[in-house]
């Protein structure tokens, strides 16, 4: 494949620091002017098992990983066996002396050197970092610097151990394997999709995030929790997802921007609250990061099985916004946008994503300056204030409780029962219709409000037309480096961007998605009457490696 791309694979047991090693290597690569893309394959366990991390390093932006790696470091026997077939031509596959007899792998005296350099617990993960540094022309001092910053326990031992490995590799491979040509103006910070989402929501005004840990959404909660004292944002681990969403609605009532996030199972628990947001007209951002289901499913893997689930959240009829980021940049901007939209339209919004975006990492300049300015909220009240005033847009003025926010005698009532304009409950047939009509008018208002944002993305040129959404678009963009085709990606799914997509009405297309049924294809059929030539489906919880996807696309194009 592209000779520019240098692929690294680190494999070992959970707890051995596989992911950490890959992250530090990514850092080093970025510091040396390279674009990186990292993905981790791990299971729901803390120690043992088999984890591996994949890292693509390149002079240009990369969006996905490759099946074949140029450098493999296996910390244990299982990793060696699992990844013997994953060696690209000319690949170097290192392992610990004694772990394998296979001629294709290169034993290094890792254990011996660890014994030599550590008194207590050793960090095998450092070996991968040192090997990489030595093979890619990174100076010993740069290596030592990053070790000091990133492996803060047993620093002296770490440095000595890494130096020994480094020297060994330098000695054996004086030419190295790869030189990292420094690219100017390259994004210098690495972000996972979840970090981009968290920061996007923060940029969009997020004050309170309520969550309950659930892979692959948990790291949003963790990341925001660490930002409390520096950024003034609060991330609260609630007793359950049910608590989280109701707390978030409470905070919106009190005038603060709030969000929740989970994966399918936790989201299922939030459905009643989601419907509440529809009824009380609470602005609420919900982040749904999918993994394969049903039920607990395959908890650390990726999937796009929740499309219809997301589109049909909650009982009763009410307007909502559903959109899915197709890139890391978009993860940031969309989170901000959706929070703005939720507040502009007083409706719940879902940011639908999946593990592949949530937990993969890329070096990125957050598109901070490209965000739309927030709305100037100029509410028009009539006296007395009525929470659910029947407006033409369906959107009623918002006021918030508390001295300073509202007048002493303002009554602000949000009601989960059907209600009259003041917010008091009603069962009157006439009012039920009037309120439903009011809320239904928001469908149009939402369409209008979303029009100012980029609602679809188009990538590449070519005869063939391919549709995808979410992180599948990243996989396809990497494939576009090798195959010409037009990729069309709806970012907004509800309301559906008919205007931008009208040209594809009835078009013939290939649809790629991570599900066992062509759900997205069904969706496109319903909306655009797209004729599906081929469905490319993957549903084993893994992302497509670039080579595989190219193969599938070629078959589809030739069919």
């Amino acid at each position: 494949m592209s000779s520019k791309i240098y692929n690294v694979l680190i494999g070992g047991k959970a707890g051995e620091g596989v992911k950490k090693a890959a992250q530090v290597i990514a850092d080093l690569a970025v510091k040396h002017g390279q674009y990186i893309f990292q993905t981790d394959d791990y299971q729901s366990l803390i120690r043992g098992g088999h984890n591996f991390s994949l890292l693509s390093i390149s002079d240009e932006r990369t969006y996905n990983t490759y099946a074949k790696a140029d450098l493999i470091v296996s910390f244990d026997q299982r990793s060696i066996l699992r990844h013997l077939e994953d060696m690209a031509e000319g690949a170097l596959h290192f392992c610990n002396e004694g772990d394998s007899e296979d001629a294709r792998v290169i034993p290094l005296p890792l254990s011996a050197l660890m014994k030599e350099h550590y008194q207590g617990p050793a960090h095998i993960s450092l070996s991968a970092v040192a090997i990489f540094a030595a093979l890619c022309g990174i100076s010993l001092s740069a290596l030592q610097e990053i070790i000091k910053a990133e492996f803060r326990r047993q620093v002296d031992e770490n440095i000595a151990y890494a130096a020994a490995i480094y020297a060994l590799i330098k000695e054996r491979y004086p030419q190295g394997q790869r030189s990292l040509a420094a690219n100017p103006d390259l994004p210098a910070k690495n972000y996972t999709g979840n970090q981009a989402i968290a920061l996007g929501a923060y940029a969009g005004g997020l004050d309170y995030y309520y969550g309950y840990p659930m892979t692959p959404a948990s790291s949003i909660l963790h990341y925001l929790a660490k930002m409390r004292d520096t950024h003034g944002v609060y991330a609260i681990h609630a007793e359950s997802e049910l608590a989280a969403i109701n707390m978030a609605i409470g905070s919106a009532f009190a005038g603060r921007r709030s969000a929740v996030g989970s994966s399918g199972g936790g989201f299922a628990l939030m459905q009643e609250g989601f419907s509440l947001a529809g009824m009380v007209e609470a602005p609420l951002l919900c982040i749904l990061s999918s993994r394969p289901g049903p039920a607990t499913g395959a908890s650390t893997y990726t999937g796009q099985e929740d499309l219809y689930f997301a589109l049909n959240q909650g009982h009763g009829e009410f307007a909502r916004i559903v959109a899915s980021p197709d890139s890391f940049e978009r993860a940031f901007s969309l989170a901000a946008e959706l929070l703005d939209l939720a507040w502009e339209c007083q409706s719940p919004a879902i940011l639908l994503t999946e593990k592949q975006l949530s937990e993969s990492m890329i070096n990125l300049d957050l598109p901070v300056d490209d965000l739309h300015p927030p709305l100037s909220e100029e509410a028009k009240y009539t006296e007395p204030y009525e929470r659910y005033a029947l407006t033409e847009s369906g959107i009623s003025p918002l006021k918030f409780p508390g001295a300073g926010n509202c007048a002493e005698d303002d009554i602000i009532k949000w009601n989960s029962n059907e209600h009259v304009e003041s917010g008091v409950r009603t069962d009157t047939a006439f009012t039920i219709v009037a309120m439903r009509d009011k809320r239904n008018r928001k469908y149009e208002s939402i369409v209008k409000a979303t029009q100012k944002y980029q609602r679809i993305a188009r990538y590449g040129q070519g005869e063939k037309l391919v549709f995808a959404y979410g992180s599948t678009a990243l996989e396809l963009r990497e494939a576009q480096k090798y195959l010409p085709f037009r990729l069309v990606v709806p970012i907004y799914l509800e309301p559906f961007p008919f205007e931008e997509l009208s040209e594809y009405q009835g078009a013939e297309a290939i649809v790629v998605e991570h599900a066992s049924h062509p759900n997205f294809a069904r969706f496109l059929k319903e909306k655009l009457n797209v004729k599906i030539k081929t469905n490319i489906l993957r549903y084993d919880g893994r992302h497509f490696h670039t080579e595989e996807l190219i193969q599938k696309l070629k078959e589809a194009f030739d069919a």
Binding site: Y210, I236, L242, N246, G250, A252, A254, P401, N405, S416
Partner: protein
């Protein structure tokens, strides 16, 4: 001060204990207001049930959320604006059945909110099923042969969960109840008021309470004492069982500062 009764038609059954509770709440709010709390700073949330209807009748702001979730909703309100006094009206089915977890966690966290539990010993609004506080043998639509479960004791359960203010009163003791709610709201931390609330339609306990309720002269000197008084069926003791000042949740996690502007946020992100 504005009127606290809305114009919404009241549909509680004639004689329902909720009327006394409603009167007491209005009194307490008046006291709070007179003691300096702006009316705009008093908000409520309510569960779904007969108890929740107070939301429509009481002329203060609030959020009428889902069955069982009022305390979660209220916690979100309080965190977002700690200056607010947050009153929660919960039913026994609502707060100790469907929403039990939120009730115990609000106590555990010492969230600075007040839960007023309408203990009518049944699910009133859904026509009289057994609730988590129904006595053994209670016959309702879901227990036609008699309830076989033992009721929780709300006072001791909430003490166990960590509530820092725990009291019990009775809808027919409006003065006692209004004083208790006033104190509960002023208490910094989670306050819990169990209100014995006769339900004339499905669980008419007036006679029982009138005969057996007795107001305690003081807060019991020890936890054991409080616990044994709370479990006593005759007399049924009314009063504050437990009160202590311990750190409040929102003060431990936040300074309560203002929300940053977008410009400030973007600057921070670029720095």
């Amino acid at each position: 001060m504005r009127k606290l009764i809305s114009t919404k038609e009241n549909t509680w059954c004639t004689g329902c204990g909720n009327f006394g509770l409603f009167a007491a709440v209005r009194k307490s709010i008046q006291m709070l207001h007179e003691a300096g709390t702006p009316m705009a700073d008093i908000v409520m949330s309510a569960g779904i049930g007969c108890h929740g209807k107070i939301f429509d009748y009481l002329e203060i702001s609030g959020i009428y959320g889902l069955h069982g979730r009022a305390l979660a909703t209220a916690s979100g309100v309080k965190l977002a604006n700690p200056q607010l006094k947050v009153l929660v009206f919960g039913g026994d089915g609502d707060s100790l059945g469907e929403g039990l977890e939120h009730t115990l966690f609000a106590a555990k966290r010492n969230m600075d909110i007040t839960l007023i539990l309408h203990n009518n010993g049944n699910y009133g609004l859904t026509t009289g099923q057994a609730s988590p506080l129904s006595i053994k043998g209670f016959k309702g639509l879901t227990t036609p042969m008699g309830n076989v479960e033992r009721p929780f004791t709300p006072v001791t359960l909430m003490m166990e969960a960590g509530a820092s203010f725990v009291g019990r009163s009775y809808t027919a003791r409006i003065e006692h109840l209004s004083q208790m709610i006033f104190q509960a709201v002023n208490h910094p931390g989670f306050s819990f008021v169990e209100v014995l609330q006769p339900c004339v339609s499905y669980n008419n306990t007036y006679q029982l309470y009138n005969e057996h309720c007795q107001i305690m002269s003081e807060i019991p000197e020890s936890e054991e004492k409080a616990r044994s008084l709370a479990k006593s069926a005759d007399p049924i003791y009314l009063g504050i069982y437990h009160q202590e000042e311990i750190p409040v949740y929102h003060q431990q996690i936040q300074d309560g500062g203002a929300s940053l502007t977008r410009a400030q946020r973007l600057a921070l992100l670029k720095s």
